[in-house]
């Protein structure tokens, strides 16, 4: 029973931000309870699917090459968000990112050496050895060692808040109603992308066809509760980060392996066998994120990337084997598309391809002429059978709606004042900095920086 105890701090969530907050507060003497909705085997939220975080640094370190100045980092952020960011919080986060890797190391997180093989991001991003689950395991082990109390299978269902002041929380502890008393609260419960009904409110019935790349436990219950109880919202409730992933992926927790990198070398058609967007608009990392939305706008939220044999080895292998056909018509049959229409689309495309020198490593200008929509790079005829197809669906990474915080991670109330004892960290407040778009590795940086600040602030509050 949790009802009989009294804690200094309640932390909601079991991902990166929650653990950074719990560890920091515990190290400063606070008694801490972490409530994680997931069972132990599935703990760690979306953080367990991550692989790196983005850090500013002035000189090469053991885990990062060259340098990445605060200014350059901020410019990258401005570029992806189009300016939808709180500059003060953003600059502070970027500055603090310089100091996180040694802190993480001391708490058991290990990184890959910076020279490691295939990683083109090793200048800006530090890669976790073993990925995010290894990171989460290390933090849980450290928390256990330091005396943080962790309960799994414990969902926080409702917060007792009086005029912006946290009193306690109703929880379901292994399925049974219970209550937690604590002097301060850190909410680090992620976004609401695991909540299909909520997604449906924003996107309509098409949301039923979305695949959620991460944990099913991020249902946004705490976000909704906080907003209902006077917290100031932040971010666009109708936006989410979605990429095109393999339609055969599991509904939840498919993680990184369901990603598909073949779009730039393919033609992409919808279930009417028609193309709908320039597949060669830009290099894939830059265009990766728009394809989720593009597919979401197609009938039944499905599309098919089609390539021929010569393209098969140009992209990272995928977990699901491509669907194969000796002819375009045969392939169409397997995809349940109209063979005549697909054949017509391919013929039309092939006829529009202009001669050019194909170069997969950069924008090569190999394009179509007189085709709508055009393909402006890597346009090559589909003429080497067998032909292959990968089905695509929108895969949601995270949602943008959250709570507004200040530089001490305090939750802002709608009346304009910060809460005295309620703090937020991670995805639930990431929109303050990443208002739109995506910058690889920023989510974990925000979680780490704000987790630490929230932990510190909570400890300061309870020790005062």
């Amino acid at each position: 029973m949790l009802r009989d105890k009294h804690y200094d701090l309640l932390v909601i969530g079991g991902g990166n931000a929650a653990l950074c907050a719990a560890l920091t507060a515990r190290e400063q003497g606070a008694s801490v309870l972490v409530c994680e909705h997931a069972p132990r085997a599935l703990r760690g939220g979306n953080s367990r699917h991550t692989r790196n975080l983005r850090c500013s640094h002035d000189a090469p370190t053991d885990v990062l090459t060259e340098n990445y100045s605060e200014e350059e980092y901020f410019e990258d952020l401005l570029r992806v968000t189009g300016g939808v960011t709180n500059e003060k919080l953003a600059r502070m986060t970027i500055h603090e990112s310089k100091f996180v890797t040694p802190w993480m190391y001391e708490r058991g997180v290990r990184f890959q050496p910076s020279l490691g093989g295939t990683l083109s991001l090793s200048r800006t991003n530090a890669f976790f050895l073993g990925g995010g689950k290894a990171l989460v395991n290390a933090y849980f082990a450290e928390a256990e060692k330091k005396g943080v109390e962790v309960v799994y299978d414990t969902e926080v269902v409702s917060l007792d808040i009086e005029e912006g002041f946290f009193k306690g929380a109703e929880v379901r502890y292994h399925g049974f109603p219970d209550y937690v008393r604590a002097k301060a609260l850190v909410v680090a419960s992620g976004g609401f992308q695991g909540n299909i009904e909520w997604l449906t409110e924003a996107w309509g019935p098409s949301a039923a066809n979305f695949i959620i790349r991460g944990t099913p436990f991020n249902k946004g219950l705490m976000l909704r509760d906080l907003l209902a109880k006077g917290a100031e919202p932040n971010g666009d409730p109708t936006q989410c980060h979605a990429v095109a992933i393999d339609a055969r992926a599991p509904k939840f927790d498919g993680g990184i392996v369901t990603r598909l990198d073949c779009v730039p070398f393919s033609i992409v058609v919808n279930n009417k066998a028609e193309r709908f967007y320039d597949e060669g608009e830009d290099v894939w990392p830059k265009r990766y994120a728009i394809w989720g939305r593009l597919v979401a706008q197609q009938p039944d939220q499905i599309a098919y990337a089609i390539i021929d044999t010569k393209c098969l080895k140009l992209f990272m292998p995928s977990v699901f084997p491509p669907i194969e056909g000796r002819t375009i018509e045969e392939l169409a049959g397997k995809l349940e598309l109209d063979p005549a229409k697909l054949s017509k689309t391919v013929k039309g495309f092939n006829a529009a391809v202009q001669p050019g020198s194909f170069d997969p490593s950069g924008l090569d200008g190999s394009r179509t002429e007189g085709l709508e929509p055009a393909k402006t790079n890597w346009a090559r005829k589909l003429d080497e059978p067998p032909y292959y197809a990968y089905p695509l669906r929108p895969g949601v990474t995270f949602t943008y709606l959250g709570v507004t915080v200040d530089e001490k991670a305090r939750i802002q109330m709608a009346d304009g004042k910060p809460s005295a004892n309620m703090l937020a960290a991670g995805e639930i407040m990431a929109g303050n900095i990443l208002g739109q778009g995506y910058l690889a590795g920023l989510g974990m940086t925000i979680g780490t920086v704000f987790g630490r600040i929230a932990g510190q602030e909570a400890a300061r509050y309870v020790n005062r």
Binding site: R48, T118, G130, N137, D253, G255, R259
Partner: protein, 385 residues
């Protein structure tokens, strides 16, 4: 027909390799290859990244390259209860054992891997009895219980010729069978070309057990936490084994070349090497034995338990009886101890080619191929850019 070319359905019929283990290994590698989060842990992942699809021979190579450190199990976002249910250390341990069986020489004895624990115990029991009977029949039964001192005292228990014949026959056979098995393995899963550099790097990785260090900070020896215990215990055991082996070799030279007859004095090379080796073996195998019971069984192959335990027990018993012989050689216990030690040693020799021991050779071969492959790949990359 090599396993690489066999259609999957036939592979199931081939000795050792089972279609199901190969298929599960392939499925696992295909998911890992799309993920690659574990690439910093060990050699398996960089080796995997050289492929887009995995032939049977590649899978056997990768399985033998794996050191079973379990790092990639606890770090895996797709481990059970995820619907992908990945358990790489387990399936690779199973495939490794199947590959030992598949390549065993002569093929007719491959089945000994199946009930390895039983085979090892039977071999040990029978050889113990055989040595005792030999001693009792060839020498006076009283010799077993008398006090014998000075040069040649061992031969008062077992005649010199008999000891030499038993030792060289069983050891010679073991070497032959091991070499033939390794040859079978290399033909199917080795590299096409190997330079001196790859050989040296492979030897270095094998002797330092580099990949049982989890990329530096230790392995998940028994659970989610990281330690280096397994690595150090195995080092004690492996070097203990090599030292004991060196001891026997030096003693053989003393005997045959110089005519110096055992037992040797406390500070002689064979005794010093043997004592150090004996302690290393005892501590190493005893420690690993203990860890086997402590460890989380999920990422291990329960099917291999008997085989792993068999060799551990043999090494432990050889070492303990050897040390006992050393300490009590001047007492009336010497005769019995010598016979028992000899029985264990002979049993170890005859079971070497059909048990866990072959992993040392196969792993070494896999490490050599790994370095050869990596060099070839980086040269290809160099000439392409």
């Amino acid at each position: 027909m090599s396993i690489a070319e066999q259609p999957v359905s036939l592979v199931g019929l081939a000795r050792g390799l089972q279609g199901a283990t190969l298929e599960e290994s392939r499925r696992t590698m295909e998911i890992c290859n799309a993920c690659r989060y574990c690439e910093g842990y060990c050699a398996v992942f960089p080796a995997m990244e050289l492929h887009r699809s995995f032939s049977n021979r590649d899978l056997v190579h990768l399985a033998n390259l794996c050191h079973g450190c379990k790092g990639c199990f606890y770090a895996c976002q797709y481990a059970p209860p995820h619907e992908f249910g990945l358990n790489l250390p387990k399936v690779f341990a199973e495939l490794r054992r199947e590959s030992y069986e598949h390549h065993a020489w002569p093929g007719a004895l491959a089945g000994l891997f199946q009930k390895n624990g039983l085979f090892v115990s039977l071999a040990t029991g029978l050889l113990l009895i055989a040595v005792m009977l030999l001693s009792a029949l060839l020498v006076d039964p009283q010799a077993l219980f008398g006090v014998n001192r000075g040069p040649g005292s061992f031969y008062a228990v077992i005649p010199y010729e008999v000891m030499v014949a038993l030792g060289s026959l069983s050891f010679g056979y073991a070497v032959l069978a091991l070499v033939m098995g390794l040859r079978n393995y290399w033909r199917e899963s080795g590299a096409k070309q190997v330079g001196g550099k790859a050989l040296a790097l492979g030897l270095h990785d094998a002797l330092t057990l580099r990949h049982l260090s989890g990329g530096g900070h230790g392995c998940n020896d028994t659970h989610e936490g990281f330690t280096q215990s397994r690595r150090w215990l195995h080092q004690a055991m492996m070097w203990g084994f090599l030292l004991s082996f060196a001891s026997t070799s030096v003693a053989t030279i003393y005997d045959h070349v110089f005519g110096w007859i055992a037992p040797y004095s406390w500070y002689s090379a064979p005794v010093v090497l043997g004592t150090l080796g004996g302690f290393g073996l005892t501590i190493g195998s005893g420690g690993l034995f203990w860890m086997k019971f402590k460890t989380d069984p999920e990422p291990t192959a329960q099917r291999n338990f008997g085989m792993d335990m068999g060799l551990l027990a043999q090494l432990f018993l050889v070492a303990v009886t050897g040390l006992a012989l050393l300490f009590f050689r001047h007492t009336s216990a010497m005769g019995m101890l010598l016979v028992i030690h000899l029985g264990f040693v002979l049993a170890l020799f005859v079971s070497l080619p059909y048990g866990k021991f072959v992993h040392g050779l196969y792993r070494f071969a896999a490490l050599v191929r790994h370095h050869a492959d990596q060099r070839a790949a980086s040269q290809e990359e160099g000439s392409a850019s």
